[in-house]
Homo-oligomer: 391 residues x 2
């Protein structure tokens, strides 16, 4: 195998694919990157796989002789990340075997303008194949819709692995929109992105139900990273069948298991009507919350909101043994005066995923769920359970 490529291309694609290399591989081979070079397509493929998430990136190079080899991922990435801009040549030669039953190995030589590095690669045949999807469904989704939905919902997923299906985002594909839902039991984010989804292929004769998948947080974090390198107007192909999903962007291909189990019926949790509507400038509220959260109880992080309709402002307060804090935020308030308390972190995280300059907070009573929505542009409903007010 022999090829020449740009060091920048190799750096970019290696850093994307290496995200799927496990930090503590359960099998030594998973600590490697599979490098495949195809002389017909003049493409390099870099594949990493932690048995749950797989990332394969591809880019053009000058392939003199095709072939494949597995390379220690960390070492390879360390060296490549320090290479100067310019062309680099990778050549791979089989190593003479000392005994007949020894594992075959390869010598990889990486040459740039002023230096040369050599290290051993192992048998590419030992590298597990990424799961393929035969049959099942296939859709085309614009990058921007997928990206917006993922970014709006990821924050509300659970990090507690015992909560299984809550450790992911639940995606519902409708013909003219995508819905992304995530909840950790304390808050719920539901984002819709209007889009023209094209069903390109299905093996089912008739599909009455909309497609529903729960995709792990880690997968979507990596997908978001890959999408950020794609053009927003480019379509992403999505393939799925029982237990597996594949996202295929032009330059990278991501495969992941899905989370099995019934996702909660979250739509029923969102109140249809509210008695109080508060509109505030998002940045002002966010900055005030970040200040006041410093004095909130480190355990439950409670801050209290007092709606003052007469003065058209919201009072944020906190009081712990460390001290007390209050902030006054001008607001448009309709409804009645009311006190309600939230976990400040959940409120801050919800505000951070809104992308509009103003937001609306809708509240019924002190003990019933409230929702936060951006005003204009972004279709996101962020539901928050209030915290019991004591004292």
């Amino acid at each position: 195998m022999k090829l020449t490529c740009s060091s920048v291309d190799l750096q970019t694609h290696l850093s994307l694919s290496c995200r799927a290399v496990p930090s503590r591989p359960s099998h030594p081979i998973l600590g490697n990157i599979l490098l495949s070079a195809c002389s017909d397509t003049q493409q390099i493929h870099l594949t990493a796989f932690n048995l749950s998430l797989g990332i394969k990136t591809r880019f053009l190079a000058h392939i003199e002789t095709g072939g494949q080899v597995t390379i220690p991922a960390k070492l390879f990435q360390d060296i490549v990340s320090h290479l100067p801009e310019g062309d680099i040549t990778v050549s791979v030669q089989p190593e003479p075997q000392e005994t007949e039953d020894a594992d075959p190995s390869w010598m990889i030589t990486l040459t740039h303008a002023s230096g040369r590095y050599q290290f051993k690669g192992t048998n590419p045949e030992d590298f597990p194949q990424l799961p393929a999807i035969n049959g099942g469904h296939s859709l085309q989704i614009p990058t921007s819709s997928l990206s917006e939905g993922v970014q709006s919902s990821l924050v509300a997923t659970s990090t507690d692995e015992a909560k299984q299906v809550l450790c992911g985002v639940h995606l519902t594909v409708q013909p003219d929109f995508l819905e992304f839902a995530a909840t950790d039991g304390h808050r719920l984010a539901v984002a819709q992105t209007a889009t023209q989804v094209t069903e390109t292929e299905t093996t089912d004769e008739a599909q009455a139900e909309p497609t529903q998948l729960t995709i792990p947080t880690k997968t979507l974090t990596e997908l978001d990273r890959i999408l950020s390198t794609s053009k927003p107007e480019n379509p992403i192909a999505l393939y799925y069948c029982q237990g597996q999903v594949i996202f295929d962007a032009q330059s990278a291909y991501l495969t992941s298991r899905t989370l099995e189990g019934q996702y909660p019926e979250y739509r029923a949790l969102i109140p249809k009507k509210f008695k109080n509507h508060i509109t505030v400038e998002k940045r002002q509220l966010l900055k005030a919350l970040e200040r006041i959260a410093i004095l909130a109880d480190p355990k439950n992080k409670v801050i209290r909101l007092t709606l003052d309709k007469k003065n058209q402002h919201v009072l944020l307060t906190t009081a712990t043994e460390n001290g007390t804090g209050q902030e006054v935020i001008p607001a448009q308030i309709s409804g009645k005066d009311l006190e309600i308390a939230f976990n400040s972190q959940y409120l801050i995280e919800g505000l951070k995923v809104t992308k509009t300059s103003d937001i609306r907070l809708q509240i019924n009573e002190t003990h019933s769920p409230a929702i936060l929505t951006p005003l204009g542009g972004q279709n996101l409903t962020y539901l928050l359970m209030p915290v019991q007010i004591t004292g």
Copy 2:
């Protein structure tokens, strides 16, 4: 006590002084900042002290009523760092004492345009006084000279506290230059900065010997931070006597213990003559070393330099069980062909403190010390002990 100041001024000075707040205070009071406001000078002083290093910063404010109080440093800094730009008011009121023998406490109220924070402060009389120097010596040193010397030498200090005097920089004050020396036993950095030192005061009748002080690494790291906020042409006043040193920049005042004990006679270690002189482009050598160091043995980090006089280049090589690397660097070489090995980290760190585009490496034999010097401008001698070449 009541005062108004700019939030930006408070943020800047608090972050400088808080560097002397110990992360785990041996006495609770040391986890505080002493805030003093003087109505005569209209200045705020912020003082932190970990019993070894003390930092007092000062800035102008509008002081309505003077006074002082100690404030929990972390909480205060957290809140202040989140304040919006603008004026803030600090007022301090004594708290009613519940019993007669209870410790007195103060309520601190911090008010900005849209919010108010209150927390308790404790007795400023419990805060230890920063060491003062009565008598002793006093010098005026330009900021730029001090800063350059500190930055060039700090890297070579030891981090092993058992090595005592080596955990600091040895400063020698001569009438027309300062000399900064640091060594950890593996390398030695000696920097000289030409300057007009003004001896402003001394209580000794005659001082035949030049001033010599060994100042702890941590002190100089913080001094460097303070100097970076001062104008290069401003003078710094240096006061010292047995065991103590004080640096007085206009906006901040730093006091520190010095390290006691005889500093090694380092000047004798620097060879006067060399057989081999190598001039190379610094950036090229540094980048090549950073690449090749990845493949060096993680324990001793050895890389080998081969001088090739005929081809006027230096070959850098490394070989471990992980793989081999080589880099070729064009160089002007006078002397003879030679192989020598160094700890790559020490060489990299030495190169990083040089500020010139070209550097010179001077070598005698494979086993004798080599020196690295920047070419032009900066007066630095960085001596490196070679590593035994094996195999």
